[in-house]
């Protein structure tokens, strides 16, 4: 492993070294971005297929149904349905959100926002993308297998995910893909953590870092520690499937010995709960920054926000048991996990206090990044508060594995992260590509996403409370669930609507890429380091490594006399007359 040490690398000249095997963090970020957007579209299509099946069982999926399911006249068959929700979960979590939030923003923002010329290990960074790429190919290829892809849910609980419940190579390829992706994530994490610690511009203390970097950095730490745990889990699962070990086999179908299927759940959630925060922390960071930038005042309690993020990071490692209340762990464990889970609401409440404190008495510009950020505050409020029902043992016993859970984690992990990702994309697009995105289309996209999104996920909370459980192909074989048909229909129609409005985003993205207005160096008038350099930045980012003299949120300082309402991080903090 050889480091970059913040030297100027010669600019690559060939197409191959410039766009494919690129060591440049900005190019790798864009690779991750397209990768993420591709899988976001794929996962989104799968979501629509799932919703259609749930609401109109037995009716062929319009337009592409016959192409996808020729043997059942366009109707999604039950086994494909199981593959669809499994792949939807896997793709959205590992292949859409992770590359977008961590791969794209992590790679793009970390060096630029801390004043570095590249990541600490550019080659490792390149490898990280190509491992992710390989992993994506393995996963997509598994869809084409004769027995189909993995179909045991994204959690892949054994013994369903062992040979007892899932014959065929799909589940094995799923394990391989996840392992490869884990390797990629760990490489990225090693790089991010090292970069943030060693390559901050002179003068930049940890609390002078933008909160985006705080979020990405904590995410990387969690990744480095907990992704290998899942790695161990999928290795053992693969051995059970391929070599005939019995780590997770038990009961009548296990011919010999007794493993422990619940052990996989422990391993999975030791990783899985931090993973939730791995996904949300970058979004929190981005939102905390953007709320300040567009309110034109410093982030309220930026230090306590950073510390609260750190607290959540630590707590997230201690609470995973709340995913397993219905497996009947010992009462002592159950009580401990419930209590620990509840403590997460302290840092969460501090976030909300600080976010609202940031827009309080501001001078708010409702540009599209700001709209999406405010949207995050709204949907994360709903997502966080519904978490209370699920962290409480007795209510969780009723709600576990119902659509209430689905609604809850979509609010936190899908809605918040997606809106946070869009906020970041609209915000940094001018820096990334040197062109502005169309603001009108962006606002249409916001409202067209925000309103149906609440229709979908609030509807899910309602049908979940009504008792509809997860992962069922046709809920209406239960007479008692038939009363939920109208809400289910609303959810599906909202989903179709939201899907349709994403086309606006894609059009805006492609159009702006070629025809967008040329972006100035600093279109949003904010002072963090990446806005001090041209859009898009030159290959080595900074001709001269900047020296940081003030915090990232210096906006609205009444002592500023130079006609700007903000100052760059490279400028000495303007003090008033004492």
């Amino acid at each position: 492993m050889s480091g970059g040490y913040n030297e100027i690398h010669p600019e690559p000249t060939t197409f191959w070294s410039k766009y494919i095997i690129s060591f440049d963090h900005k190019v790798i970020a864009k690779q991750f971005m397209w990768y993420g957007i591709f899988f976001l579209g794929l996962g989104g299509m799968m979501a629509l297929l799932i919703r259609w099946t749930l609401t109109y069982p037995g009716q062929p999926f319009p337009i592409i149904g016959n192409l996808l399911f020729p043997h059942s006249a366009g109707v999604v068959p039950p086994d494909s349905y199981a593959m669809l929700f499994t792949m939807h979960g896997t793709i959205m979590i590992f292949y859409a959100i992770t590359p977008l939030l961590i791969g794209a923003f992590g790679n793009y923002c970390i060096p630029l926002m801390i004043g570095a010329r590249d990541m600490a290990f550019p080659m490792l960074n390149m490898l990280s993308f190509w491992f992710a790429f390989l992993s994506g190919i393995v996963l997509v290829a598994s869809l084409l297998l004769p027995l189909g892809a993995a179909a045991g849910g994204w959690t892949s609980y054994p013994t369903l995910s062992t040979m007892i419940g899932s014959p065929g190579a799909g589940q094995t390829l799923w394990c391989v893909a996840i392992f490869l992706f884990g390797v990629s994530s760990t490489m990225g994490a090693v790089n991010y953590v090292t970069t943030v610690i060693t390559l901050r511009a002179p003068g930049m203390g940890y609390f002078d870092m933008p909160l985006t970097i705080w979020g990405l950095w904590l995410t990387a730490i969690l990744n480095a520690i907990f992704v290998p745990v899942l790695g161990a889990g999928v290795i053992l699962l693969t051995m059970d499937r391929v070599m005939g070990t019995t780590f997770f086999l038990a009961g009548a179908s296990a011919t010999s010995g007794s493993g422990d299927p619940v052990l996989f759940q422990h391993v999975f959630w030791i990783f899985g709960h931090p993973e939730v925060y791995i996904l949300i922390l970058p979004a929190w960071g981005i939102v905390s920054d953007l709320l300040s930038f567009f309110s034109r005042k410093p982030a309220f309690g930026a230090k306590s926000t950073a510390l609260a993020m750190t607290a959540v990071t630590i707590l997230s490692t201690l609470v995973y048991g709340h995913h397993m209340f219905t497996t009947q762990m010992s009462p002592l464990l159950t009580q401990s996990f419930m209590t620990l889970t509840m403590t997460i609401s302290i840092p969460s409440a501090i976030f909300f206090a600080n976010w609202l404190g940031t827009i309080w008495k501001g001078s708010i510009r409702f540009d599209s990044p700001m709209l999406f950020s405010l949207g995050v505050v709204f949907v994360f409020g709903l997502g966080g508060l519904t978490g209370l029902h699920l962290g409480t043992v007795s209510t969780d016993i009723y709600l576990h594995d119902t659509y209430f859970v689905v609604g809850h984690f979509h609010y936190t992990m899908a809605a918040s992260v997606l809106l946070g990702g869009y906020a970041g994309l609209y915000f940094w697009f001018p820096k990334m590509f040197g062109r502005m995105m169309n603001e009108t289309l962006a606002k249409i996209h916001f409202w067209g996403t925000m309103i149906p999104l609440n229709g979908i996920f609030f509807g899910m909370l309602m049908i979940g409370y009504g008792g509809m459980h997860r992962r069922i192909y046709n809920p209406f074989v239960y007479e008692s669930l038939q009363r939920l048909i109208p809400i289910n229909t609303l959810v599906t129609q909202s989903a179709i609507l939201m899907g349709a409005f994403q086309i606006v985003f894609v059009i805006n993205l492609i159009w702006s890429l070629y025809k967008g207005k040329k972006a100035p160096n600093n279109p949003w008038n904010v002072g963090t380091l990446e806005w001090t350099i041209p859009s898009p930045p030159v290959h080595h980012n900074y001709d001269v490594i900047p020296v940081v003299k003030c915090g990232p949120h210096e906006l609205g300082n009444p002592n500023l006399k130079n006609g700007r309402d903000f100052q760059y991080q490279t400028e000495e903090l303007v003090q008033g007359p004492a």
Binding site: M1, V190, T198, A224, I225, A232, M243, T245, G257, H266
Partner: protein, 183 residues
Amino acid sequence: MKRSELQNNLAMTIALISAAMLFVTLFMGYAVYRSSAEAWPPVGMAHVSLTLPFLSTIFIAVSSWFCFQVKNLVAINDLKRANRNLNLTMLMGVGFMISQSFLWLQLKESGIYVTSGIFASVMYGFTWIHAVHVIGGLLALVYLKIVLRPKTNELLQKTINVERFWHFLGIVWFAMFMGMFVF
């Protein structure tokens, strides 16, 4: 400390923490299996003889010592002797792998097959996972052998990184030896 050294040390530390987490997870699983089993090894299965695991331990311990010498010799720029010690490290590493292979053969001959339950799963599975890492470590040693020449940039740093990984594998094996074979 120079920034490049700091970066390398830090990155290697994080990478080792990651790898350690993988093995920690395995040990956690082992603790669960062992504590919930009525008898360990299960009734009808013999205790694994300590001879071969002990031999493996000797091999990897000696190779770690040679590896330590490699670093010291690179530090004083005595590449010739460093190379000799590196050869011995690799030899001992290969010796470890051979000893492990005999261990697997022995398990098989005593009627413990991969498919014969959780005891066998742990014995084979965990040592396999460790062995794969040892192969990775051997490849790192081969890499070190290739770059072990005066003109290499930051040779000492590279040596230290490989050395740390090799020691790490030794420590993991020692934990396995104590936890799975001795006790």
